[in-house]
Amino acid sequence: MRHKDYMGLGILLLVIIFLPFVITNDYYLGVLVFTALNCLTCIGLCLLMGYAGQISLGHAAFYALGAYATGILTAKLGWSSWMAMGTGVIISAGVAFLVGVPSLRLKGHYLAMATLGFGAIIHIVLIAAVNMTGGPSGVVGIPSLHFFGIELNTDTRFFYFSWSTVIIGLLLALNLIHSRVGRGLRAIHGSEDAAGSSGVNTSVYKIKVFMVSAVYASVAGSLYANYVNYIDPGPFDVMHSVLLLTMVAVGGMHTIWGAITGATVLSLLPEFLSSMSDYFESLGLSYQPDYDTLIYGGILLLMMLFLPEGLVDGMNSIRRITSTMFIRARKKLVF
């Protein structure tokens, strides 16, 4: 079980190392960079939702805190990117603490609402605090990241960097969930009463994991700012939080792998659809970008209808079914 997880990590690592040799077009690598950022956020969100069972509809806010910390500190105050990222992490964790203490006492939809409200407030502040955040016009001129003297200014470089971050984030998350603390978190999910009576400090654990997931989102946000070199409040609205939640749920929130799969699929899907329109056009069919929305919604719907426990579980059961079919077929052959 555990070893499978770490093996998966190794495979992922290999894939990432070799991918840029297969895909040489920067466009695809660029898309994969955004995918990595979503994966990173979703790993954190999955720890919170899938493992500790606490819903959050405010994660775009932490993504924003990271991005704006980087944006403001580097572009306006001239800090180094790393310092800014670190500060973003500290701010996000601090805000997560302040928000988590009162919010995480709430349950279910009420918690969803509280986090959603928090996310919306942050978004409004980003728009309204013009002097600090640049308001709707955003922050321009955010420098690229430097890593041991290498400027991460090409898509290939940033691809490696962002996915390494994902791998590290994944490793840490896997460590966490296979630990005493991870079990404590999952226990909270199963039954808060029983977890408490087993000695798990439920409120502190919930707050801590909320902070951890905020940190993931914050790092992703910082990387976003460094990569795009420009931020405005647009990408950090409540709908982005909803999208993140959807990613985690589509992949199957009971495993980290599910979250990553969901994030990857839903990050690539729109790009895939936009390529599809080129394909249709080359066939001479008239295709409007308007249909993208329909197809996107339709695919999401079908996934939820036919893969109840998410993509990862869906793939597992497909494998199971085919293997039983195989066994049966073999039996028939033998007799």
Binding site: D26, Y27, P136, Y230, P235
Partner: protein, 361 residues
């Protein structure tokens, strides 16, 4: 330059999503023009192939789309994006790839600092010029106390900036500074505040449909001070939505919005009348300035392709010195000015009987 029989040009607009009312007419316009160009034999015998991408009004998608156009389709120039925010996100990519990007958004910060934005152009009129136009008129009417209300989008924020920054220049006093979100449904609270601030005039600066609620609210509150809108109001639907309440409001806009009331000898007239009649008959929809930007963009680009071929650097140089008459005004680019328009591009319009007409001086 991927294939010698065609010119590949990229277009990115907010065709769906939160700013689709901007991107839709732009997409329609470029498709219409490309078809027309190709039917009449293309450019120098080469077909004009447009690769149209949808940003959904989203920065991330815009970045991806620009990369796709540049790396996958090898386009020689890019027209769009529609919004300031998406343009800002797309600019570093185009700039780094040395591909000209001709934005349809209006924010002036897109072009600054000019040394770092050598590949970036824009077609929409300058916000600051719109402000000038409005303030000039206010000065003429002797109105001094201005209540500013803006929408919280990049467009609104840029306008708010200029309105406040340039007020002293014209002896204006900003007595109120309010905002509203794009999704807001009722601005009476803000308007009551403006009313209490003793403003003699209201300037409503926004590009979202919600801006047409302001005149309605003012009517409801029985406020009778004059209302000025920005060039973001330049969509007849906004005036229709506001109904009677919109009568008499004043806004600076490209002349395309009031072609019919323009003297026929005006240099822009012929071209705009043609565009308007073609667009409206093709799409059964009203023209807007937003579509006009795309029109100008295709004109500019087809001119460049015809003259210098599809080398991006050549195109850039061509545009830097281009002069032409478009729907947005009479463009006059220079290496220092990547917009090419000044306040003469604007005409003050007003709403009369549900139509845009040129304001009688």
């Amino acid at each position: 330059y991927a294939d010698s029989k065609a010119y590949h040009v990229g277009c990115i607009f907010a065709i769906t999503g939160k700013a689709s009312w901007l991107g839709e007419p732009q997409k329609n316009t470029v498709e219409m023009l490309a078809q027309k160009i190709n039917e009449s034999g293309g450019i120098d015998g080469k077909k004009l192939v447009l690769h149209i991408e949808d940003t959904q009004g989203d920065n991330t998608r815009a970045v991806n789309a620009v990369k796709k156009l540049i790396k996958k389709f090898n386009v020689c120039a890019i027209l769009g994006p529609s919004r300031s925010g998406t343009s800002m996100a797309a600019i570093p990519v185009a700039q780094a790839a040395n591909i000209p990007l001709i934005s349809c958004a209006s924010a002036e910060i897109m072009l600054q600092p000019i040394e770092e934005r050598g590949w970036i152009f824009k077609l929409a009129q300058n916000d600051s010029d719109a402000v000038r136009k409005i303030y000039d008129h206010l000065v003429k009417r002797g109105l001094k106390k201005v209540g500013v209300i803006t929408g919280t989008t990049g467009f609104g924020a840029a306008g708010r900036d200029f309105l406040i920054k340039m007020a002293p220049e014209y002896g204006m006093e900003i007595v109120a500074d309010e905002t509203y979100a794009p999704g807001d449904t009722d601005m009476t609270a803000q308007l009551v505040k403006i009313r209490n601030s003793g403003a003699q005039v209201i300037v409503n600066w926004s590009i979202v449909p919600a801006q047409s609620i302001i005149p309605q609210n003012m009517k409801q509150l029985k406020m009778e001070i004059p209302l000025y809108q920005s060039h973001g109001f330049a969509n007849i639907k906004y005036a229709q939505a506001a109904g009677e309440a919109a009568e008499g409001l004043i806004f600076p806009a490209a002349r395309i919005m009031a072609v019919d009331t323009l003297p026929k000898r005006h240099p822009q007239y012929a071209l705009m009348a043609e565009y308007k009649s073609e667009y409206e008959s093709t799409y059964k929809d009203n023209v807007s300035t937003f579509g006009g930007h795309a029109y100008d963009g295709i004109h500019l680009l087809s001119g460049a392709l015809e003259k210098v071929g599809d080398d991006p650097a050549e195109i850039r140089n061509y545009i830097e010195n281009a002069r032409f008459v478009g729907t947005g005004g009479i463009f006059c680019f220079s290496p220092k000015d990547h917009c090419g328009l000044d306040k003469t591009a604007f005409e003050l319009l007003t709403v009369k009987n549900g139509k845009f007409v040129v304001l009688e001086p």
